[in-house]
Amino acid sequence: MLARTVRGAGVITLGGAAAYLSRKAEAKGFWFIDPGRCINSQLGATGVDVCEACATSCVLPLSAVRAVNNCAACGRCCICPAYFEVTSPIGPDGLPSQKLCPRDAIGRKAIGEVDPYDPLNNFYEYTIDENLCDGCGRCVMACKEPAGLGSIRLEVRHDRCLSCNRCTIAAACPEDAYLRKPVDT
């Protein structure tokens, strides 16, 4: 009886310690993507294939990584290389006929004084639907300089991320761009 009590107390203590350490570890850091290392946004890496590790390696059915557009840096172009597949055949409206995003997560609307007759005469606001985006990185690569302005980059959505200690995306990242940062920095 005494031995059982001691054993039980030991298990509770160990479990509590594990939970405490886990929470402490979690509180110490969060995962983030270094855009200077990520192959999709890294300057100077031209002509390489898109890296889809963020989309395909996460333990979640839909990755915790999302593409995010910095509207302040966005050129608001009509023929956006992240929105259109700019090498696709030209449609009757003079615009590329295909979109780049395989999940159609990028939307756009004309802003400012709109010319209804000439789409090239307008500015466009581009938004990314986070319920559709899976962080595949194609728009990031297409928007990267020099072709685009580099306003799109991949970010970890912490409200979705499980903050796994051994993140499978970090393990799969070929450029070690998936890093853990302490909470207080």
Partner: protein, 311 residues
């Protein structure tokens, strides 16, 4: 027509942080601006001058007597041949980033007026011979200016008599008797032709995949005009040079292996012989292009002269 390229001033990084503009003077001297200085080289590559600029130089041009003008933000600084500088134009807050400039006079006897590409205001600005602001060009379309996501606006002046205005628009007027301005509108994938009064009289180019089209997000990025009346246009991603006549007919394309593929902007200039100078703002060096027949003739002449030299 085939263009042959050769890197000049090879092996030298011209500036530490940024190379932003290039121009060729009346004596074929080459001026480049970047960081916060201007450098002038002789045609053989020997550095003649190195002068600090008041602000970061963004563009450069020469007047007819050889004074060098450096476009900055809100102002234009002039250097005479000795390097003495003064502020030719100080037009803040109206004038923003001057990414191209040119001096123009209707005749050799008349004083030169100033045309400036203001990338902040996304329009061309015209100043009279006394450098007082006269008018803005291209500011009154529905997007209130040129669409320049790259943040640079470029133009050139086609003098009278070079050719008929061209383009795909309808109802254009024949303005061969007067000088006109060609400007790049990158987000619209075309070159636009204006009168000095600011009237859009023609345009050519469109988004597409044919050699004469402009592909990618925002091309063309810069242009210049040769003494022979050919429009030289630069594109990015990948960098390439195209030559058009004033009717918009494509004459030559040069895919530039000598230029850095990550280059976002190519500054252009042309000398009296129609050779094209390209400033690689990423690799920070200069590449000169010339038609193959001209290059072969030059090399042949040089070899012939060498044979004539007595042993």
């Amino acid at each position: 027509m085939k263009l042959l390229g050769k890197r000049i001033l090879a092996g030298r990084r011209l500036f530490r942080q940024a190379l932003r503009g290039v121009a060729i003077g009346p004596e074929d001297q080459i001026a480049v601006v970047g960081d916060q200085e201007a450098r002038v080289f002789a045609p053989n590559g020997k550095q003649l001058h190195r002068w600090p600029t008041r602000l970061a130089g963004r563009s450069v041009a020469f007047d007819r007597v050889g004074n060098m003008l450096v476009g900055q933000t809100g102002q234009i600084e002039q250097f005479d041949r000795t390097g003495r500088s003064n502020l030719l134009v100080d037009d803040q807050p109206r004038l923003g980033r001057v990414t191209a400039l040119a001096l123009w006079a209707e005749s050799a006897q008349m004083p030169e007026c100033l045309l400036v590409a203001d990338a902040t205001g996304r329009c061309l600005r015209r100043y009279d011979a006394r450098h007082a602001w006269l008018a803005d060009l291209g500011a009154d379309n529905n997007t209130h200016g040129f669409l320049i996501p790259n943040g640079r606006l470029d133009f050139c002046v086609a003098r009278a008599g070079l050719g008929r205005p061209g383009g795909m628009g309808a109802g254009m007027e024949d303005s061969t008797d007067t000088a006109t301005i060609f400007a790049a509108n990158p987000a619209k994938h075309r070159l636009e032709q204006y009168t000095f009064e600011g009237n859009l009289i023609g345009h050519f180019g469109r988004f597409g995949h044919r050699p004469e089209d402009f592909s990618g997000c925002c091309n063309p990025i810069s242009l210049t005009i040769t003494a022979q009346g050919e429009l030289v246009v630069a594109e990015k991603a990948p960098p390439r040079i195209k030559v058009f006549d004033l009717q918009g007919q494509l004459l030559a394309v040069a895919n530039c292996e000598l230029l850095d593929p990550n280059c976002k902007h190519l500054a252009l200039a042309s000398d009296r012989r129609g050779r094209i100078l390209v400033a690689d703002t990423q690799g920070m060096n200069l590449v000169r292009f010339e038609p193959e027949r001209q290059a072969n003739r030059r090399d042949s002449d040089a070899a012939h002269q060498q044979e004539q030299v007595p042993a």
